[in-house]
Amino acid sequence: MSTLWKDLLVGLVVTVLALGGAYWQAERTAAFERHDGTGETLRLVCPLH
């Protein structure tokens, strides 16, 4: 298998993991936010930094 195909295959796996993770995170975040019920909460769950 060429390096390009290996890179693409790894990229596909990483993308699938990221898709599942993003969906899970957004759903969980929305659930948490609904549970808490304030807009302020959103800033607290911002996960990137």
Binding site: D7, V10, G11, V14, T15, L17, A18, L19, G20, G21, A22, Y23, W24, Q25, A26, R28, T29, A30, F32, E33, G39, T41, L42, R43, L44, V45, C46, P47, L48, H49
Partner: protein, 402 residues
């Protein structure tokens, strides 16, 4: 102990797991602001101050941790850094005053992050992974670190809901206890990679790097990266709230940034091994400026917010494998950890400026408009300063004949 088991694959998998765990836990700290403050009686400013100290210590500690890793190997630094990270997290959960919170969650955790996370892994990859696969590995490590948020943010929420903030923080820290174990795979200084590199002392390396125009331009560019990311991370949700959007839309836009960040970081690593890194970086910063511009001038809609999140995600940490790859290209791997560290320090200073200026401008004008335009100007500036960067070994670091 025989070293033959430390193949590039083992090194890459271990390094990616370290990035995932260390970056993942770090990304979940925002979750603890409210519940931990409620349990301990902190106000929001006290918690924010501790996190600000943490960011500062992370930035300041990075060149030092990098220099130690360059001298004694990344594995040892990752092991000690990982232990400090766990200790800082556990003690932070027990802090009862603002001062102890700043010392544990700020100083100790910041130093743990400097030694036990991402940048040391990148330096290890630069040394231990063959040069032809280096950019790909740097991209994969960046993507893995970004994936960590998807694991730890929901997990953190579940733990807080089930066990309370104090217990949840202790439980999450157990994951970081894996870092010293995984670090065993990243021991060694990559002497083979350094074989054709000239002997340069630490002092000479610092002087030489900051006397090399391309390194200074790269460092300046990474300041802008930190500025953009920290500004958007901190101020996008309240900005969307001001525009009247629902919090769940902001949640989805943040998730889209995370999703496309993973894809963008990995793709940048792959492309960086096949084409010009400086041109890719210039294109990324130009595209950021364009994304900000379109976001500001077009009427805000649900679709435009989501598209902005996706576009920004693609351009988010895609700068990391390219920037770190350029440092290794210019100076080789002997001082890679320290020289990455100085570039990262610039990123952290930019992040501080982005968060602080965003708040200051909002307080002064009641809007973020000026901040968006500053971000556009800085993006264009960064796109320009990357163009003259020389993509070859710096003169003092030219390979020597064996």
């Amino acid at each position: 102990m025989p070293r033959h088991w430390r193949t590039p694959t083992v090194i890459i998998v271990a390094g990616c797991l370290i990035g995932l765990v260390s970056f993942g836990l770090r990304s979940s700290f925002g979750l603890f602001t409210e519940p931990l403050s409620a349990v301990r009686g902190f106000d929001r400013e006290t918690f924010a101050f501790a996190i600000a100290v943490q960011n500062l210590m992370w930035g300041l500690g990075q060149p030092v941790a990098g220099a130690v890793a360059d001298r004694y190997g990344s594995g040892r630094v990752l092991a000690v850094g990982g232990a400090l990270y766990v200790l800082g997290t556990v003690l932070m959960s027990q802090a009862t005053t603002g001062a102890t919170l700043a010392l544990t969650g700020g100083v100790l955790l910041g130093l743990g992050l400097a030694g036990g996370s991402f940048m040391i892994v990148l330096a290890a990859f630069a040394r231990l992974v063959p040069e032809e696969r280096r950019s790909w590995a740097l991209g994969l490590a960046t993507a893995a670190g970004s994936l960590g948020q998807f694991l730890f943010a929901p997990l953190g929420q579940a733990f807080i809901a089930g066990y309370g903030a104090v217990q949840a923080l202790v439980m999450l820290s157990f994951f970081v206890a894996l870092v010293p174990l995984l670090a065993i795979a990243l021991t060694g200084r990559g002497e083979d990679a350094e074989a054709d590199e000239p002997e340069v002392s630490t002092r000479e390396a610092i002087r030489g790097a900051f006397g090399h125009t391309s390194y200074v331009l790269l460092t300046a560019g990474f300041f802008v990266c930190g500025f953009h990311i920290a500004f958007v991370t901190t101020h996008l949700p309240p900005y969307l709230h001001d525009l009247g959007f629902s919090p769940s839309l902001a949640a989805w836009s943040v998730a889209l940034i995370g999703l496309f960040n993973v894809i963008g970081a990995y793709t940048a690593g792959v492309l960086g091994g096949r084409t010009s890194k400086r041109l890719l970086l210039s294109g990324i910063y130009f595209s950021r400026a364009l994304a900000f511009l379109l976001f500001v001038i077009l009427p805000p809609t649900t679709l435009s917010v989501l598209l902005f999140g996706a576009a920004l995600g693609l351009l988010w940490l895609s700068t990391v494998p390219l920037t770190s790859g350029l440092v290794a290209l210019m100076f080789g791997t002997r001082h890679a950890g320290m020289l990455f560290g100085f570039v990262f320090l610039s990123h952290q200073v930019g992040a501080f400026a982005g968060v602080w200026l965003g708040g200051a401008i909002y307080e002064a004008t009641g809007a973020y408009d000026a901040m968006w335009w500053i971000s556009i100007a800085l993006g264009l500036g960064a796109a320009i300063v990357h163009l003259p960067i020389s993509e070859r070994r710096a003169p003092r670091w030219a390979p020597v004949a064996a």
